[in-house]
Structures are given as C-alpha cells and as structure tokens.
C-alpha cells in the first residue's frame, strides 16, 4: 500500500468522522446535562434537508447552514419541552423526533422539489468548498510531510476545521467555565444544582440548544459539504453511531474525537475496499458496509470497559424534600 492510498483513506476518514464528531459532541452536551438524546439522528437529518433546500433556493451555503441549525434547534426545543418541562420519557421523545424528521424531510422535499423526496443537486455556491491552506501546493514536493499537509490537513471544508476545533473548545467549556461546572453537576445531581439556587431546567435547555446547534452543523456538513444535496435517510444511522461513540468515549470530548475517527476510519475502509480478496474466499461488500455497525454492536455489548454514564441521565427532575 503506497502513501497516496493511505492518505486517501485517511482523508476520507476525516471527512466521514466529522458528522459523527459533531453529533457526538452534541450528544455529549445533552447527556452530560442529564438528557438522553436519541434524537441526534433526526436532528441531523432535518438539518441536512433544510440546509440543502435553503442553499438550493438562495444559492447561499451559509443561509442553508443557518436554516439547518434552526431546524435542528426546533427539534431540540421540542425534545426539551417534552422531557424537561413535561417530564416525559426522554427515549420516547427522541425516537418520536427521529420518526418525525424521517417523514417530514421526505414529504416536504417531495412537495417542494418533486424529485422523489430529495433536493436537486447543489451547484457551487450552494456547497461548502474545500479550503486550501497556505503553501499547500508549495510544500507538496517535500517527501512524506508535503503530501500529508497538502492532502490530509489542507483541502477540507470549513466545517471540518470547525468540527475539530469543537473538541478542545468543548473540553475547555466543561472543565474550565462556570457553565461547564453547572452542566456537569446537573447531569450528576440536579438536586445539588437546584438547592444551590441554579435553574435545572434552564441548564438543561441550554445544553439542548448547544446540541441542536452542533447537530445542525453536522447535518449541514452532510448535505452541503460531504455531498451535494439531500437524499432521503442520508444520515444512515450516523446519529446512533455517534451515540455509540459517546459511550465508547465515556462522555469525554477527547475520547470522543478518537472514537469518531475510529468509526470514520471503518467507514472509509468500507468505501474504499468493496470486496476484499483473502485468497480462500472473498469478503463481500455487504460485510464491509456493515462493519461500522457491527463494531457498534460489539462496543455496546460491553467492550468499552467500565463506562459510567452521568448519574441523573434519563430522569426528569422532580423537586423533592
């Protein structure tokens, strides 16, 4: 395997890991605040649709992204209303949002564009273009490091860089700021936050808003960065894989980066090597495509080691004496 092939696989690892990473960090904010967010999938999907639709209509990828974020945050608000204000079951609310997004996107797409539940392909301007970092071409001739810089580090859309920057930012917010301290506390012991005179519901809504924002970015990247338009169910279970990655990462931002890169790598391998010939038999393409999902199951079945979720996760907060 030559350097070029390795770089290509790693390059696509990065591209595929970004939506997972953004969704995973969204889940991290939400779950560290004590709200289980099964609806990552639906939020990403609805953001993907609205970002593609608005980008197509206006020709501006930025307006598209804002529309995607707005749509995702609306779903977050519904989730908050159901599970925080009305103390409903968070899993059921999340699943309902996924169904809602799944049906709504295809239906509106059909009504607006009549292309069988998809948006028309986006032209330049409606998509995030790749950014060439300074000196990428100048440095390319340098052996090994040159191509790594030019191929792997340079030449991604802005959202890729934003995604990676979110990791240290998330860590810093959680560990170094007042908001982070309160957020971590409310997911562990909401009664402690409440008796300290801080609003439990306020913190949890804030966490869900951040989750909505990040899912919106993830969805916008899918439809206007990674691909050129929305197709039905284009998230393809990424929201659930992000949740698996979150458990794998033990609800920590740096680990989340590692977990998402691993899942992204598996997807990249599956894309690149459709049939692997092992001599005696050939591993069919379906097995490769299923690999990330199989790994998810294996990881969830307990190969994570001891993963302690936020203690108050999934429980609506009811004031008690």
């Amino acid at each position: 395997m030559d350097l070029a092939t390795i770089l290509q696989v790693l390059d696509s690892t990065v591209r595929l890991a970004i939506p997972l990473l953004l969704a995973c960090l969204a889940g991290l904010f939400s779950e560290r605040s004590g709200i289980i967010d099964i609806g990552l999938e639906g939020k990403m999907l609805i953001a993907a649709f609205f970002s593609a639709a608005v980008a197509f209509a206006t020709g501006s990828v930025w307006l598209g992204m804002l529309a995607g974020i707005a749509a995702s945050m609306v779903l977050s608000a519904i989730h908050g209303l159901a599970s925080i204000t009305f103390r409903g079951n968070q899993l059921i609310s999340g699943v309902a949002l996924n169904f809602l997004a799944s049906g709504l996107t295809v239906m509106i797409a059909q009504v607006w564009f009549s292309e069988g539940g998809r948006t028309p392909s986006l032209m330049t301007g409606g998509r995030f273009s790749d950014i060439a970092l300074p000196f990428a071409e100048t440095l390319r001739p340098i052996p090994v490091l040159g191509p790594i810089y030019a191929e792997l580090i340079s030449g991604h859309s802005i959202l890729v860089y934003v995604g990676f920057l979110m990791v240290p930012l998330t860590w810093w917010v959680l560990q170094r700021t007042r908001f982070g301290l309160r957020l971590r506390a409310v997911g562990e012991a909401p009664e402690a936050v409440d008796t300290a005179g801080v609003s439990v519901a306020g913190l949890r809504f804030a966490a869900l808003a951040i989750a909505g924002l990040l899912c919106g970015l993830a969805g916008a990247y899918l439809a206007t960065g990674l691909q050129a338009g929305f197709v039905r169910e284009m998230t393809a279970g990424r929201g659930y894989i992000a949740l698996a990655a979150l458990i794998f990462a033990k609800w920590r931002p740096w680990y989340a980066l590692g977990a998402c890169l691993l899942f992204g790598f598996l997807q990249a391998i599956a894309l690149r090597y459709q049939n692997i010939d092992l001599g005696a038999f050939t591993v069919p393409v379906q097995v490769m495509d299923a690999l990330p999902y199989i790994l998810t199951v294996v990881i969830l079945a307990g190969f994570v080691g001891k993963a302690i979720p936020p203690r108050a996760g999934g429980q609506p907060y009811v004031k008690e004496r």
């Binding site: 700021t177 908001f179 301290l181 562990e188 402690a192 936050v193 409440d194 008796t195």
Partner: protein, 533 residues
C-alpha cells in the same frame, strides 16, 4: 443577643391537596441559639423548613428574617437571605471534588479558576475556626458520610449563611460522628450563628438545643426552653398522649439454644467478603441485638439466615443443620422450618407496594393449605385472615383493600410484623424494625417483639439505632467489617463502649477516643474504596 428574632414565621399554612401539612404555624427563633424542631414523621417539620428554603410556597403567612419581611420564592432567595440548609439526603455531586461542590452556584465569574482559589482560602479559614476539616481536593464519593455532611455545612458557610437548618442530621452518623457534629454546631452558635435542628430523636434535643418547638399533625403545639423540659413531656407533646419511652420488659429467661451459627462467611456478587467467620447463638426466650454502623455485614447476616443469600459455615436450628446453599436455601424453605424474617428494607423486600394489604399479609405463606389447595387460592379466607390480623395489630386504616404504599411507615411495618409473628415462628429475624416509624408505633412494635420473646421464641434483632438495641436486646453483639467484635450485656455497657466497638476499636485508647474512632472509620472507607477499584 438582641430581641429581634433571627427567624420569625407568622401564620404559615400549606396544604397538599386535602392534606394540611402546616396549619397556621408561628414560631420565633432567636439569633445565636440552637433551636430544635421535633415531631413525628409527617408532623410537617420538613414542609415548614422547605417553605423557609424556598422549595414550596406557603398558602398563607409571612416570613421575617432578622426582623425584615422576606419573600422566599426559591432557593436563591433563601441563600440571599442568609439561610443555609443541610438536607437529610445530601445534595452533593458525587464525582466532584469538595471545592467544586462548595463553589457550585456561588461562582465568582465565568471562569472557574479564581473561584476555586478563593474557596480554597475560605475553606482553610473555616476549617481552623470550626473544626470543619475536609480535604478540599477529595472526591465526595471517597468521603465518609460524616465528612460529606461537613461539606454541606461548608457550602452553607461559604455562602455566608447566618442561619443553618439541619434536617435529621444524625440519622446517618455513628455516635462519634454525631458528637463531632454537635461540637461543630456549638462552635457555630458561639460565633453567633443561628441553628435550627430538625429531628425526631429526643436525646439530641435534650443534648444540644437551647429551645425546642414541638409539632404535631401540622400544628405547632408548644415552644419551650429545653432546660425546663424533659423527654417524657416532649414525647407526650409530640404524640398527644402518654408514651412509654423505655421498653417495658421483664428480665429474659433464656432457655436452650435455638439458632446456632458457626463460622458463617459470605461473599457478595461483586467479590467483597461481607461476613467473616460469624459465630453467634440465639436461645429460646431472648432477644439478641446486632449493633453496628450500617454496611458492616448485618444486612448480609439477615439475608443469609432468611434464605436470600448463600454462605459457607454452619447454621443449626433446634440442633438440625439447615442447608446454606442449593435449592433448599431459600426463603420459602426457611419459613417452613420456622424462621420468620422481617427484612430491613420493608418497602422493597417486605412488601409489594402496589399490592393490596391482604395480599401482602399472605406473601410467603400463600402456599399454606388453609388458603386453598392446589392451584387456586381461597381469596375470601385470605382477606378474612388479613382483616383479623390488621385489627389485632392496630393497622390504620384496617382496610385490606388498601395498597401497601398508602399506609404510613409504621402501619406498613405492622403489616409485615403481623404476617411474620402471627405464624408463630421458632426464630424471628428482624431488621430495623422501627426505621421511619412514629414514636407511638415504635412502642407497639417493641411490645410485640417482647411478647414473642416471652413466648419462648428466639429473636435476632438488627438495628442501627443504638437506643433501640440497648432498650430491646437482652444480649448485644457488635458487628464491624463482617466480624462480631464482641458481645455485651446491655446492663454492663454504654453508648460509648458500643460506639468504639462499632468503629472496630476493641481497646479504648487513652486520651481522645473519638479521634481514634474517626481514624478507624476512615481506614475502613479507604479499604472499601480500594476494594471497589
């Protein structure tokens, strides 16, 4: 001391649906005093304090803090008014450090670093001033219950509280830890802080308070100076009738050994050894009390004997070995052999809360022939039987159709006791018989246990309440870390000696006994923590 009360409540009323939790309550708490509020469970003490801390809004009435009329719509307002609260169940974030817990909600700005270093300094000063020493960098989950409570007090003091409310603070403490807490509270009072102590333990009221208010069924029935009152007067005020505080019993007449336990050992599912070579004999006509801080193997001892857990070693009942493993080591077989079990956790192990009283009274014995043969049960017979037992045990209301969860703690316990005692067992295992039970019901439950003893039955009592063990048991065994540390006769021992044994100290060291106890408790915790890793 001034004449302006630190807290004055005027005409506070609060109803939850049809239940009037507080009725027109007025009270004055003077600054620089320790003011006790005593009453039975459900008397409305906690509701009143929750109103003061902004958890509930009163339906009517006014609150004056330091002479000024104050609205307290939420906890934030209570904190601003200088009120700090130490809840019965601590409100701490388990995987945060002490420092992080202290600053939570009282941070100085958007970033944590300045708040943390300020808190570090304040904590050091508070530690020196009030014996409130806790390692600021320790995680809460690694601290003993007593230290966690200190963190709660520190939280309040860090917020510059002048008024400290403590809700049943000693329920989870060892006697030594409780003594230390009282020293802290006296220190705080001497510095001019006002302390409100909510409790149902008369001994604590007498020991530490300056003034005491008594609540009964949502009403404030009296406020007296502690020095001018006495326990029996307070108990009478609480219950509304004369109560016997001491257990009324004749000296035991122990007969032949009924239950002989030898070298009993048990390791739980997570691999921790909970019982280590426990040997103990319970004879006919005696009550053997097991004292100990909860979590030292008492629960496991009851579970093994009751057939809920397996063990190695030997247990003989009337001279016959009973199996400790295998299919015959279950609760049903034990009951058939004559071992009745009143479990410690009545809401989870003693009752099914959503089942009717009559069903609960039959559980464990529902296979009996007199409740029907074969597959079908004779529900009419069951209900008739239940009604009869509920009357005899004064369960209120005596309605077999009521679900278990709708009875008060005391009445739930009476249902379990009626079920177990009325089958005339050879051995009665009874865990925490009066936890969460009102004084009036405690008296009744103790009398029933003594009555069974006087019929020549063997009784093994487990309780974390030392008063209960001292009053009820004829012989006391103290457990620590899965071992029996020693046996004592109630007449020849006292709280202090038992407290040392409970902390694993067999020889009282010269000088500061209490510090040694604390040290040994910390040791135990460190070992526990190490085992869990």
């Amino acid at each position: 001391m001034t004449d302006t009360p630190a807290i004055e409540l005027k005409g506070i009323s609060k109803a939850f649906g049809p239940v009037q939790a507080n009725k027109d309550i007025s009270i004055r708490v003077m600054p620089g005093t320790i003011h006790g509020i005593i009453g039975e469970n459900g008397a409305g003490k906690s509701t009143l304090m929750s109103i003061l801390y902004g958890f509930y809004k009163a339906d009517a009435g006014e609150i004056f803090i330091g002479g000024r009329k104050t609205e307290i719509p939420d906890s934030q307002a209570a904190i601003r008014a200088g009120i700090g609260m130490v809840f019965q169940h601590f409100k701490l974030v388990q995987n945060f450090t002490v420092l992080e817990n202290v600053i939570l909600g009282a941070e100085e700005g958007g970033l944590l670093r300045p708040s943390l270093s300020k808190a570090r300094g304040v904590l050091k000063k508070l530690a020196d001033d009030y014996e409130l020493r806790v390692d600021p960098n320790a995680l809460i989950e690694d601290l003993s219950v007593g230290h966690q409570q200190r963190v709660e007090i520190l939280k309040a003091l860090y917020r510059e509280a002048d008024i400290l409310i403590l809700d049943e603070p000693t329920g989870v403490l060892t006697p030594a830890e409780a003594d230390h807490l009282f020293r802290i509270l006296r220190g705080l009072r001497d510095e001019g802080k006002t302390i409100v102590l909510i409790t149902h333990k008369l001994r604590e009221i007498m020991e530490i308070t300056d003034t005491v208010s008594v609540m009964r069924r949502g009403e404030m029935v009296a406020t007296v100076e502690t020095a001018r009152s006495n326990p029996s007067e307070l108990a009478e005020l609480m219950v509304g009738r004369k109560v016997l505080l001491r257990v009324d019993k004749a000296p035991a007449q122990p007969g032949r050994p009924i239950l002989e336990i030898e070298n009993l050992s048990h390791t739980d599912a997570s691999g921790v050894q909970r019982l280590r070579d426990v040997s103990l004999t319970v004879r006919a006509g005696e009550i053997v009390g097991i004292a100990g801080v909860s979590g030292n193997g008492q629960s496991e001892l009851l579970e093994v004997l009751g057939g809920m857990a397996t063990a190695t070693g030997s247990v003989r009942l009337n001279g016959h070995e009973i199996p400790l493993t295998g299919r015959k080591a279950d609760g049903k077989t034990r009951r058939a052999q004559g071992i009745a079990h009143v479990p410690e956790d009545r809401q989870h192990e003693g009752l099914i809360m959503r089942f009717h009283a009559w069903e609960n009274i039959a559980f464990g014995y529902h296979h009996d022939d007199r409740y029907g043969r074969g597959t079908l049960m004779d529900n009419v017979a069951l209900r008739r039987d239940a009604e009869d037992k509920m009357k005899r045990y004064d369960v209120r209301p005596p309605d077999p159709w009521l679900e278990a969860r709708n009875f008060s703690g005391g009445n739930q316990q009476k249902i379990v006791l009626a079920r177990e005692i009325e089958r005339d067992p050879e051995v009665l295992l009874v865990g925490q018989p009066t936890r969460g039970v009102d004084i009036g019901a405690i008296e009744f439950i103790h009398q029933e246990i003594v009555r069974l003893r006087d019929k020549g039955k063997a009784i093994l009592l487990v309780s974390v309440e030392l008063d209960e063990i001292l009053g009820l048991a004829d012989r006391i065994a103290v457990m620590f870390d899965g071992r029996i540390m020693g046996e004592r006769l109630p007449s020849e021992t006292d709280q202090r000696e038992l407290g040392l044994l409970m902390a694993g100290v067999t020889e009282a060291p010269a000088g500061s006994g209490l510090d040694a106890v604390e040290e040994s408790l910390r040791d135990k915790e460190r070992r526990e923590a190490a085992r869990h890793d």
